[in-house]
């Protein structure tokens, strides 16, 4: 049985599970998806990539940032049947660069980068980075809708966080 009590200016309500089962009638303001103030996900409303997305961690800002951006951009805008098939060189550049910084990009990224090429999801790039650069304690779990399905990659994201 739910009950309520007042201690000075503070109100305390105890609720049972049953009492909270009915759906809430609290009204929330509808969100504007194009609100310029809001934190954006990985893909901006105009289709561009948000390089500052917390989900990318430091991939776009690290020493191999420019290579990563090139490879990922190429992949993102690729219209080939096998998406990103023309981006092999870019990905190779990126991989070469990453191999020069094993501390930042641990060697599990070998399988990750091949996943990035093969898989059609943008978040596969994130685990490659995420393995080396754990995301900051940021409150934005922002991801684009296409990534939500890639749970297997996300799992490896966590596994790979055994930083060197």
């Amino acid at each position: 049985m739910s009950y309520c009590r007042q201690e000075g200016k503070d109100r305390i309500i105890f609720v049972t599970k049953e009492d909270h089962e009915a759906p809430s009638n609290a009204e929330l303001v509808a969100d504007d998806p194009n609100d310029p103030y809001e934190e954006q996900g990985l893909i901006l409303p105009n289709g561009d990539i948000n390089w500052n997305c917390p989900c990318l961690g430091g991939m776009a800002s690290g020493p191999c940032g420019s290579q990563f951006k090139e490879a990922f951009s190429c992949f993102h805008y690729s219209k080939e049947e096998v998406k990103g098939s023309e981006c092999i060189d870019n990905f190779r550049n990126m991989q070469e660069c990453m191999q020069r910084y094993p501390e930042l990009y641990p060697q599990e990224e070998d399988k990750e980068s091949s996943q990035a090429e093969a898989s059609s999801s943008s978040v596969s790039a994130a685990p490659t980075e995420g393995s080396a650069l754990p995301p900051e304690t940021d409150s934005t779990p922002a991801t684009s809708t296409s990534e939500s399905a890639v749970s297997s990659d996300s799992t490896s994201l966590i596994d790979n966080q055994t930083a060197s």
Partner: protein, 720 residues
């Protein structure tokens, strides 16, 4: 004389049309000549002379051309002289450093197989890299442009030094010990230098410095001898950087990352007075204390519940580039200058001065100086003996020293009942049985977190802290502290006496606004810190983020927040705005606290216990602990679980949490709303995790809700 005059008179019409000089002459002569007035009307009427026709025309043309030619020649000569002067000056100044730029170019090119090859590549490379020259306040871009022509105009002399250098380079793989290069540069360059002009020899030693940070001192003497360069063992600091971040903490790092993501190839320089690169602070008072690794004070790594490990440093050292390489870095990078304090800021001149008198100019600057722990006046006045036994906890070195001290003493007292004080008390309390350590915590409020939690919850929390092994003394005001027989005696206002070996003062943070005076920046009188607008801007090129920023929150009003996530959010935002985003502070930051492994909460917004609150609770089960939350979400720190929220699938199976026994208390888990004028301005999620987005939304809406129980339903507090 007369002839000239007549000639000029005839020329008048044409001259007027072609050159000002001629015109002036005509006027001058005209004034002395009575005939002029007669000529004037003719001049205005036609361009062709009245008589003489073609001959006149030709004559006029020739003279006109001569004048113009003369003017052009004069102009060119003067400009050329100027240019040559500038070249010469630049060349002289860039001399000692020019080859520093060539050398880094060689490793970047991997192994130059053929000797001549590096040369052409080396020639263009000085362009971008120019010369980091501390003595030169002028921007390096013109230097670079100028250095290039010098290089190309002096290929013969330049050849030799390069040739001399590159055999060194190509003969040894770049990875090979720089040691080999060092003996050779001194011998080879010395004769060479005497005959050759600038860069080569001195630069020989430079590359050694540039390549091997471990051996900066050895080549330096050469530099000093040769060129009278910087003092031995001092790293060369760029004299200009596009992005300057003052302070090397969380906000600064977040800004650096943001800038690099948005501005391709950005060059970011972080200047910090700490000896460490950017690191995160929360583990210093939480996770690091729970580590079983005896070398934790060295590694600063911690193992989490699920075995995952990470360092408190945001990035390993290989992420950063050396400060002296910043200018030359093709794709930019982040350089950290440690152990340097910014003592003066010249806003008009867009430059700052370090404590070693080095000046660095910037295009855009972020002030993220954080703060300094406050101390109690009674302790400050108590003398050095007491100060020696007092820790003001904030940095890595404080953690190291406190860890060491706590192992060797019998009793420790923490003064302060807020976040830091309570967390340290719980951390040390856990050690108390292991090390036979008495842990005392004292504060003026009635209970732990008295300024944050409503009274009933504060009392409950205090009981929790006590059960962690802490002796809590509430409503304690320190009157005096003296050192007697190598022990500290704390006398409270109500007469109680506490004897202890060491004190930790956790009584707040003083925001660091030292630069406000020299920079002429506004300081907030209510909250402290630099006063900035909603976009974190203090002046057109200056932003402030983190603990030191008193900013305008569109939803919640002007405030200053001292939490980790705020540093991340505001740092990111500042970085975005420094690269042209012009966004206000909108995404509300959160904070959290763990009091031992069994209780924790996350909070957002204004959480002040003086506000009226409404708390909605359910009974807690064994599953509602921070430990269980981390196990379920598969992350070690709850701080990370926010970011990986949607990307996570439970990795570890939900192991049953240790039997916490019966919950006598009623406040197992729930949601507490903080109200200001009937609008929810703050929310605490009490033992309820991974629901921050809903809380954020409610605050963002800023609506008046008639029934907060209905709002509480949105959190599904009964679910796991």
């Amino acid at each position: 004389m007369l002839k000239c005059r007549t000639v000029w008179k005839k020329l008048a019409p044409l001259a007027r049309a072609s050159s000002t000089v001629c015109r002036q002459n005509v006027r001058r002569t005209g004034l002395n000549n009575s005939r002029i007035p007669a000529c004037v009307p003719v001049a205005h009427m036609s361009t062709g002379p009245a008589g003489g026709g073609r001959e006149n025309q030709l004559y006029v043309l020739l003279v006109g051309a001569a004048c113009v030619g003369g003017a052009i020649y004069t102009y060119r000569t003067v400009k050329g002289d100027n240019q040559r002067y500038q070249d010469r000056i630049d060349e002289i100044s860039s001399r000692p450093y020019k080859r520093a730029t060539e050398e880094p170019a060689t490793p970047i090119q991997s192994e130059p197989p053929v000797i001549p090859e590096p040369e052409p590549e080396a020639a263009p490379s000085p362009e971008p890299q120019a010369a980091p020259s501390p003595e030169e306040p002028s921007p390096l871009a013109p230097d670079a442009a100028v250095a290039a022509p010098i290089e190309t105009t002096e290929p013969p002399p330049a050849d030799e030094p390069v040739v001399v250098a590159s055999p060194e380079e190509s003969a040894e793989p770049p990875a090979a010990p720089v040691v080999e290069e060092e003996p050779s540069p001194p011998s080879e360059p010395s004769p060479a230098e005497l005959t050759e002009p600038p860069p080569a020899p001195v630069v020989e030693s430079e590359p050694a410095a540039a390549e091997s940070p471990a051996e900066p001192t050895e080549p330096q003497p050469e530099v000093v001898a040769e060129s009278g360069g910087p003092a031995p063992a001092s790293l060369k600091v760029p004299s200009h950087t596009p992005y300057l971040l003052i302070g090397g903490g969380t906000a600064s790092f977040a800004a650096a990352r943001s800038i690099r993501a948005r501005d391709p190839g950005a060059k970011v320089l972080i200047v910090t007075d700490e000896p460490d690169p950017p690191y995160m602070r929360p583990p210093l008072s939480k996770e690091l204390w729970f580590s079983n690794d005896p070398s934790v004070t060295e590694t600063l790594r911690f193992k989490q519940w699920n075995g995952k490990e990470r360092s408190i440093y945001f990035q390993p050292p290989s992420f950063y580039i050396n400060a002296e390489e910043l200018d030359g870095a093709e794709n930019g990078g982040v350089a950290v200058l440690t152990g340097k304090k910014v003592v003066h800021m010249d806003v008009r001149g867009n430059k700052i001065k370090l404590d070693d008198d080095t000046e660095i100019s910037y295009d855009k600057c972020l002030i993220a100086t954080g703060g300094v722990p406050r101390n109690l006046q009674v302790i400050e006045r108590a003398g050095e003996e007491v100060m020696k036994k007092t820790t003001l906890f904030r940095k890595i070195e404080d953690f190291k020293s406190l860890d060491k001290v706590s192992r060797n003493i019998k009793s420790i007292t923490i003064i302060g009942g807020g976040f830091l004080g309570s967390e340290l008390a719980c951390a040390l309390g856990r050690r108390s049985t292991e090390y036979d350590l008495e842990v005392v915590q004292m504060f003026p409020e009635k209970g732990n977190m008295g300024k944050v939690l409503p009274e009933y919850l504060s009392n409950w929390t205090t009981e929790k802290v006590k059960s962690e092994g802490v002796k809590v003394i509430s409503e304690a005001l320190v009157k005096s502290v003296v050192c007697k027989d190598d022990k500290l005696e704390i006398k409270l206002k109500d007469g109680r006496l506490v004897k202890t070996d060491h004190i930790v003062a956790a009584v707040g943070l003083e925001p660091n606004v030292d630069l406000a005076k020299s920079a002429g920046l506004e300081v907030d009188s209510d909250f402290g810190g630099f006063r900035v607008n909603a976009e974190l801007q203090a002046r057109s090129n200056i932003w402030v983020a983190g603990d030191a920023a008193c900013f305008y929150d569109i939803r919640l009003g002007r405030r200053r927040v001292e939490h980790h996530d705020h540093a991340v959010v505001s740092g990111r935002l500042a970085g975005e705005n420094m690269t042209g985003a012009n966004k206000p502070y909108w995404h509300q930051s959160m904070f959290w606290s763990d009091l031992g492994p069994d209780v924790g909460y996350e909070a957002i917004g204004i959480v002040d216990s003086s506000l009226p609150t409404v708390g909605v609770f359910a009974k807690a089960t064994a599953k509602d602990t921070p430990k269980a939350a981390t196990e379920k979400s598969g992350t070690g720190i709850r701080s990370e679980s926010e970011t990986e929220d949607t990307a996570i699938s439970p990795v570890a199976s939900l192991t049953p949490a240790p039997n916490v026994g019966q919950h006598k208390d009623e406040y197992g888990k729930g949601v507490i709303f903080y109200l200001r004028d009937k609008v929810v301005v703050g929310i605490i999620l009490w033992n309820v995790f991974n629901r921050m987005p809903i809380a954020r939304k409610i605050i963002k809406d800023g609506e008046e809700h008639a029934d907060l129980n209905e709002v509480a339903k949105l959190f599904n507090i009964h679910d796991d």
